[in-house]
């Protein structure tokens, strides 16, 4: 009992509260419908669940195809130790995106309709097909972890034989739907603020997804190392951060040129809420990571990498929410007098979905061979009381004795 109580941490209690809140909101949503649980309306049909759970969630799960591409297509094998956690994040991310989508759909039981009643002219159709197919591909890419764990050698051999075609298919599908999520907003140029509406949105969505995929890989590696006292692949993560910053520089150069060509660059010095949000996005996504990464003697340590990646990921979230929410707010206010803000139920569901992601990731890392095997080690606490990870196979022979054998 005492041990069980000692294992309760602040974040475990917070996670339990968040999950409970989400469960309650889910009961209201599916028991009484969207009207009772959300602030969505015919004027603002897409709210937090689409903006964050789906559009942002898919981007945050981009580490799977990015790392798979780096290792299997560009043949940079040294990054292989961090492919599995990236694929795990992607697989869980997509599963949670689908959960978020089920909450948002008016008739979630008809989600399979896209398969049968196809509308090939719709961008949503492409997104639906790609998400379904890519989640299947991710399940197969992730399956070796489970098959290894349960020693199913024959099945493992079959999956390994089709790894490369799977990776290629996964990258193709990701490229399609990461950009298609941007394409969704091409049909509402009159509603969006010119900072975020651009004919280049699909390209911007794809490029920023590649960068955030790397950022998420750094974050999850850091948090796993912290939680499970694992060795962090710091040199690899440092290289990922370097690539991430390179991609961000290309991305923001392209966005700058885009603003210039559409003749809206002068708006970035106007005093408005949208301008503040744009600068927040640029600061979090580019300026702060660039600054942190280049702090001498700290930027490239594990903490430096964590804060660099965290700022970038936060900037990415700001970008996606700016596209899906901030850019539309003024239009709704001026034309309908409506201001959308998510209800407690919507917030509770989104927070619970993110929490579930953390919990599932932690369980997977704990029980499945996600991270590479590191050399066995014992961890002794300074209070001299506990040996946290005794290694049962240690030979126990002093050096001189080992030498004699």
């Amino acid at each position: 009992m005492k041990n069980a109580l000692q294992n309760i941490t602040f974040w475990k209690v917070v996670a339990a509260v968040f999950l409970l809140g989400g469960l309650t909101a889910a009961i209201v949503r599916f028991g009484w419908g969207l009207g009772a649980a959300t602030n969505l309306s015919d004027i603002t049909p897409w709210g937090l669940w689409i903006g964050f759970d789906v559009v942002t969630g898919v981007g945050l799960a981009a580490g799977g195809f990015t790392l798979a591409g780096i290792v299997y297509i560009f043949n940079l094998k040294r990054f292989k130790p961090i492919v599995r956690p990236a694929i795990l994040t992607a697989f869980m991310g997509y599963c949670l995106v689908i959960v978020g989508l089920l909450f948002d759909l008016g008739r979630p039981w008809s989600i399979w309709h896209a398969l049968i009643y196809q509308n090939p002219h719709s961008v949503l159709f492409e997104v639906a097909m790609c998400v379904m197919l890519y989640t299947t591909v991710l399940a197969l890419e992730f399956s070796p972890v489970v098959l290894e764990r349960f020693r199913m050698k024959r099945a493992l051999k079959i999956v390994k034989a089709i790894t490369i075609p799977l990776i290629v298919l996964g990258i193709l599908l990701s490229m399609l739907h990461q950009s298609s999520l941007g394409s969704l907003y091409l049909i509402v140029p009159q509603k969006m603020h010119p900072f975020w509406y651009s004919p280049m949105l699909p390209v911007f969505f794809f490029v920023s997804a590649v960068a955030v995929g790397l950022g998420m890989t750094i974050l999850e590696s850091y948090l796993s190392a912290r939680a499970f006292q694992k060795t962090l692949e710091t040199p690899l993560l440092r290289d990922l951060a370097r690539i991430m910053i390179g991609i961000l520089l290309v991305y923001f150069t392209a966005r700058f040129i885009d603003l210039l060509r559409r003749d809206v660059l002068h708006l970035v010095f106007e005093s408005s809420f949208e301008t503040a949000m744009l600068w927040l996005e640029v600061a979090l996504m580019l300026f702060i990571p660039l600054l942190l990464f280049n702090i001498k003697n700290w930027g490239r340590t594990r903490q430096g990498l964590f804060f660099t990646a965290f700022s970038m990921v936060l900037g990415f979230i700001t970008n996606r929410l700016n596209v899906t929410m901030t850019s539309l707010e003024r239009y709704y206010q001026q034309n309908f007098g409506v201001t959308y803000f998510p209800s407690i139920g919507e917030l509770a569901v989104t927070i619970a979905i993110v929490t579930a992601g953390f919990v599932l990731f932690a369980l997977a890392v704990k029980y499945l061979p996600i991270f590479p095997h590191h050399e066995e080690e014992t961890v002794l606490r300074f209070d001299n009381a506990a040996e946290r990870s005794p290694s049962p196979q240690i030979s126990g022979k002093p050096a001189a004795e080992l030498q004699r054998h």
Partner: protein, 224 residues
């Protein structure tokens, strides 16, 4: 407004986490210097990899490619120091003898000297670790290695090194000895606090509380 709300919410969660971590000293950059050398709920721990050979002076050696040994300082000493600001090493080509003080660690203007775990010629030094001593704090056994040595009298040197279970027992004893040493060496009772009598343990950076004389005693008793 929704975007701003989400960002502020995530930033708040990070802030809470930083506060919790700073309290448990997992973010060395965020945490204040320890107020006492021994605390009742000290959570520091030391890692002892199975494949590393430990010298009683808190340095280690690991066979690298059949010909060379990687040399470094152990997790115990870097935790006791609470941080490393600078590292001084012999130049490549120099001969070092087992037990001779050859590694100097600086922390906040104070120096400790550690001995070579084996005798041999220094073939290379880890310039990354010298330039960025934080690597030693992060992982003293991997990225934080310090020198590559071509051993000269390995068979004789190995007799005093400890490995595996023997190393674990030795580190256990060292922690106890360190706790007792701190209790006896503190310049004022406040620096140890009542924690000493409540079963407290050394905190990271406990050596910051020693005056120069006791730091020299520490070197003599623990690093030789």
């Amino acid at each position: 407004m929704v975007a701003l709300f989400v960002i502020l919410f995530v930033a708040l969660l990070l802030g809470i986490d930083l506060f919790i971590q700073a309290r448990s000293r997992r973010y060395p950059i965020m945490a204040a210097a320890p107020r006492t050398a021994i605390a009742p709920q000290a959570r520091e721990s030391v890692r002892i990899p199975k494949s590393v050979f430990f010298h009683p002076g808190h340095t280690w050696a690991r066979m690298q490619d059949g010909e060379h040994l990687e040399i470094g300082v152990d997790d115990f000493i870097q935790k006791a120091l609470g941080g490393i600001d600078g590292i001084e090493l012999p130049a490549a080509g120099e001969f070092v003898r087992q037990g001779d003080p050859v590694i100097t660690l600086n922390h906040e203007g104070r120096k400790v000297r550690l001995v070579a775990p084996v005798s041999g010629y220094v073939r290379s030094v880890n310039a990354d670790a010298v330039e960025n001593p934080g690597l030693v704090s992060e992982n003293p056994y991997r990225e934080g290695w310090l020198m590559m040595i071509e051993p000269a009298e390995l068979a004789a040197n190995l007799s005093i090194l400890r490995v595996a279970e023997s190393a674990v027992s030795w580190v256990k004893e060292e922690i106890k000895r360190f706790r007792d040493f701190l209790g006896a060496s503190m310049p004022q009772p406040a620096a140890v606090g009542e924690a000493m009598f409540e079963g407290g343990a050394p905190v990271a950076g406990a050596l910051e509380h020693l005056d120069e004389t006791h730091l020299q005693d520490f070197e003599q008793q623990f690093l030789r």
